[in-house]
Structure formats: C-alpha cells, structure tokens
C-alpha cells in the first residue's frame, strides 16, 4: 500500500496541453499513472496523448472519478485553478508551480483545509506511490518498497531517494511538501499517514532550516512506533539570507539547524550529517 494515492487512483491534469503539462503527462503515464482526464479551457472535447480533454474541472469530475489533480499552471493563474479543483471536490491536489504570490497561497491552502482536500505544494515535485506519480519527480529515482519519504525540497529528495533505490531499498510513497512559506501540507500530516500505513516500515524526513515544521514534526515523532531518519539542509547558511526557498531563512534566531537537530534527536529520530548517511541509517533500521 501507500499513502494518499495508489496504483488504482484516477488522476486529472489541469494545464495538460502546455509544454510542461505534456512532457510530464508522458512521464507520469510511463510511470504507470492512470491519467483519466485533462483540463484545458477552450479545448474541451478533444483528446491529448490519449487523454480526454475538458474545458472545466467541474465537467471532468462529472464524467470521471477523479482521485487526484495535478496542476501545471503558470503562477498568476494558480489560485483560480486550485480553487476550481477544491470546489469541485477533488481530495488530493498537487500544485507544482513555484513563485505563487503568498497571499494567493494562503487562500488556496486555507480553502483546501476547509473543504477537506489535501494540498501538496505549492512549489513541489509532487508525490509518488507505486504506479501513481503526481508531479515531476524523475521516474528512475523511485522504486517500490518499505520506506516512506516526506521532504521540503525536490532535488535533494531525488538524491536521497535515488541512493536508497540504488542499494535496493524501495519506497511506499515519496511526498514533497514544497519550499514555500505556506505549504498546503505538513510533516505531521504525512507522518501520521505513514504511521498508519501497514507497508511503511521506516520513514525518512528531509527538512531544512527556517520555520518550525521540523520542530512540530518532532512532537509527533515522539509518539510514533516506526523509526524516523532525518536529514536537514542549511547547516552552513548564515542568518537572514534566504536560501532559494521562501521558507529557508533563519529569522530572529528561529528555525536554526541546531534547534531542529536537537528537537528531532530528543524525539528519537536519527539525524544524518551527510545526505548519503540517510541510506546507511535506514539500512540499520530495516535489518
């Protein structure tokens, strides 16, 4: 099994006919994802790479069971597209786009919460379970197995998940929360799902400096039965400098590397110093 989506999930892509949408549709299909509908205003009734097109999300949802939506929509139009999916009742919504204005983001995230939708992102690679990928993670990084992965950053996840895959340790699900200031989902939400998933035997948490998401996660990790291995990026970052992600900044002495390591260690998680050590620590736990 897996969390949020699995091989049976039916997926809709919004912005399916654009350059990014088309490229990643094919990658998702190659991964085994069942993409059953695409939304492209003005192109309804057509077919794109074998996928039926609709003008609106509402129409797509009327004609298909939609378990999850992936948005390949430019930042200025993301608020509208995400609200359209939320209001149409889609329960898992992946917003890949970066540089969405934070005021738009707050509306998307809070409305999702009100309507019971899980928002993954914005500014994320998305997520993947066996035969169901939502987003842009390279297909080769993922392999099926017993480890749940939840992360704030993309390429670093590929790095760590790739290193697990290389030594034959696969994943139940890999989830990217996104690098923005107001992400739709939290470590805690995902950890709870991994804790409840019978196939997940251990969890990797990939965090970074800034904010309090890792500290919040630590509180929950204390209560978990499954082992957690963490890696945190940003040890060498000076305060007050934004390290690429809106969330990755040490402000007013809060969100430091040291504080997060302390919280996670006290909660019983093992914190890897180097990215490649995650693999070794997980291997220990799975013995």
């Amino acid at each position: 099994m897996a969390i949020l989506v699995n091989a049976d999930s039916k997926v809709m892509i919004q912005g399916i006919t654009g350059k990014q949408g088309t490229f990643h549709l094919k990658q998702m299909q190659a991964f085994g994802t069942q993409v059953v509908a695409g939304v492209a205003p003005g192109k309804g009734g057509g077919i794109h790479e074998g996928v039926p097109l609709y003008d609106t999300v509402y129409e797509a949802c009327k004609n298909h069971q939609i378990d999850a939506a992936v948005l390949f929509i430019p930042a200025p139009f993301c608020k509208d597209a995400a609200l359209e999916a939320i209001e149409s009742g889609v329960k898992v919504i992946v917003v890949v786009t970066e540089h969405i204005p934070v005021h738009d983001e707050m509306i998307i995230v809070n409305r999702g919460k009100q309507k019971g939708a899980t928002i993954i992102g914005p500014n994320t690679f998305g997520m993947a379970s066996w035969k169901c990928k939502l987003g842009i993670m390279p297909n080769i990084a993922f392999s099926p197995g017993p480890v749940g992965v939840v992360a704030r950053s993309g390429t670093l996840t590929y790095e760590i998940v790739g290193s697990l895959t290389n030594i034959g340790i696969g994943q139940t699900s890999v989830v990217g929360l996104g690098g923005d200031k107001c992400p739709g989902s939290s470590f805690v939400q995902m950890l709870k799902m991994f804790e409840a998933d019978p196939d997940t035997k251990a969890v990797v948490l990939i965090g970074e400096i800034g904010g309090n998401a890792e500290e919040e996660a630590s509180e929950y990790i204390k209560t978990m039965s499954k082992p957690v291995v963490a890696y945190l990026a940003g040890k060498s970052a000076p305060p007050g400098k934004r390290m690429g992600h809106a969330g990755a900044i040490i402000e007013r002495g809060k969100g430091t590397y040291e504080g997060k390591v302390k919280a996670l260690t006290a909660a019983g998680a093992k914190v890897a110093t180097f990215p490649h050590e995650v693999r070794d620590l997980i291997k220990e736990h799975l013995k």
Partner: protein, 374 residues
Amino acid sequence: MKCFEYMGKEFFAKFGIPVPKGRMVLTPEDAEKVAVEIGKPCVIKSQVLSGKRGKAGGIKFADTPAEAKVAADAILGMTVQGHKVERILVEEKLKIEGELYVAITIDGAARAPVVITSAKGGMDIEEQAEEDIVKVNLDVFLGLQPFQAKELARRIGLKGNLAKGFADIVQKMYKMMVEKDAELVEINPLVISGDSVIAADSKLTIDDSALYRQKDIPYVDEEKTEMEKMAHEAGVGCFVELGGDIAIMANGAGITMATLDTVQLYGGAPANFMDAGGGTGVDGTAKAIEILLAQKPNVVFVNIFGGITRCDDVANALAQVIKKVGMPVPFVVRMVGTNQEEGLRVLKEVGIEAFRDMAPAAKKAVELAKGGAA
C-alpha cells in the same frame, strides 16, 4: 523585496495612515526647500534598508531650513552599515509622547497573517519581553475585522481617540498588506503625539513572487551585492554571496544547501549559494558559470542531479565557457540524471572526468581549494 522608509510612507499616505509631513529628496538644496515648506523643526533621515541608522549618524535634526541643508549635505554620500546614502527623507519633527509597535506579517506555521503589537515601541520587537507583545492570528477569509482592531487597541492599553486612531491604522495596514502583496507592514514606532497616533517609521516588504502585479512599486535591490545584482540580471534563480573560495552551482534549493553543507563539513568554504534552477538551457547556465568565475574562486564545484535540468545542457554550458576563457581554476563536476551519458561525453572532451556521487566530489573540491590557496 524590502522598500525604503519613504516608499512605505508614501503608501501609508495613500491608504490614509497618518505620517509626518515631508518628502524624499536627493540633494541638500531640495532638503532646504522641503524644510521651508514644512515651516517647523525637521528631521533628516538617511534612506537605507539597514536598521540602526541613528547610531550610525544617519539621522539628524534641524531647527531651520539652513540647518536642514547642512544636515542633508552631511548625510548624503555617507555610508550606513555598508550602504551609501543616496536619498534622504526630510520630515517635520514630531512631538513624541509615547511610542507603540505594530506590524502585520505572514505566519508560515499558521498559514495566515498575524498582527503583532506592543505598547513598548521604538526598540526591536525581538528585544521585547514576551509578556509585552500581543499577537493575533487572522483568518485569511475574514481579514481584520473592526472589532479585532478595537480589541488590539484595548490590549495595549489605549483609550479614547488614541484607541480609535490605532484601530483605524491597523485596519488600513491590513488593507494595504493585501492590496500591495506585502509580506510585512511594520510601524515602529507608531508615535503618540497629543491626541493622535502617527507612523514615524515604516517597514514594508513586498512578496517577490507578486512583483509582476505590483507594477507601481519601484524595484529596490540595495541589499544585493554587485555580484548578486549581476546574477539577477543574468536570470539566475537564486544567488547569495558567502565569501569563501569554492564557487558552487547546483540545481534546486535543497540540494544546493546540502552541497554547501557538505563542502563545509569537509573543511571547505563556499563562495556562494547558487541554485541554477530547472530548465535554464545552455546559454543561461553558461552565464551562471561565468558569474561563478567572476568571484575569482580557487575551485568551481558543479553538482547536478538532472531532473528538469538536463545534464547535457549543463555539460555544454561548461564546455562553452571553457572554450571561451579556458579553465583558470580547477572544475569539479558531479553529474547524474537526465541525459547523463551525453553530458559525461561532452565533459570528457574538455578534459573533465565527472563524479557520480556528491560526497567524493565535494571532498575533491575542498582538497583542490586548499592546494590552490597554499
């Protein structure tokens, strides 16, 4: 993007928040003119983004227009915390009877705006005792309702016209925050003068991601170093100068941070943070590499896990730069992912043997940097 004090105050005025009478000027002559218009003792304030301007001599008082001119002449061109003063704000000097603090910002953990206020203004909020600070999270759909503004005024001990004035200001601040796509609107101090409250300072930070729809706000890049400005103009996603001797490029914020950390753990000193981002193409990447070289590092370390970024694009960019300027310092490249075979082949042609793993590549970069410095 942080705005200068005068920019914030111009917006305050537009939104109906009381500010001292005054104007931003560029010359001592204009400072004198504004002082004449004001017709009262003035304060001349340097317009730089760093705090602690007063201590650095960047704020002076003047009783007459002639004094204002002299003060302006002294402040213009001076350096405050590394920033040269090019603009000054000339304002009426307020009669200060009390100082409050009020700010609205975005609380990432709550995914919502938060109002922070205190009866003890003037100093930095982080220097204040926790019990003096009032914090209220807002509902993004309700915004800041009048009753909440009144309650905030009560909680910091305001009464009568002062409470009314404060409640009015904080509601206007919220309106401005939403309409201007601000991440932070701060007034410190909000000055009590007689029966009214006036914004004696302003801090305004606009969301970089929303600048495309805030076209009336001029671009401020004072906080950036010359090299960072160059990178911005070249279209590099994110570049921060750090002062070490190993120039670093990676793709993705997380892996770039992890690369910096790994280099530092092996005893090296990163010159910069550079997230080359995804799908920049050959020319964009070549420009980014030239910026790495412009820092005059001892080693260039490129760490690519190809996803959206294609290895062959990065390799061709490296080859392009090497053919143009040669290899003034050693290049260490780690490359895996999308189109890696073609990337590795191109690199071999220009004499680079790429690493497959990050850790040994980082180690090598540190060794070479140490050799280069000796």
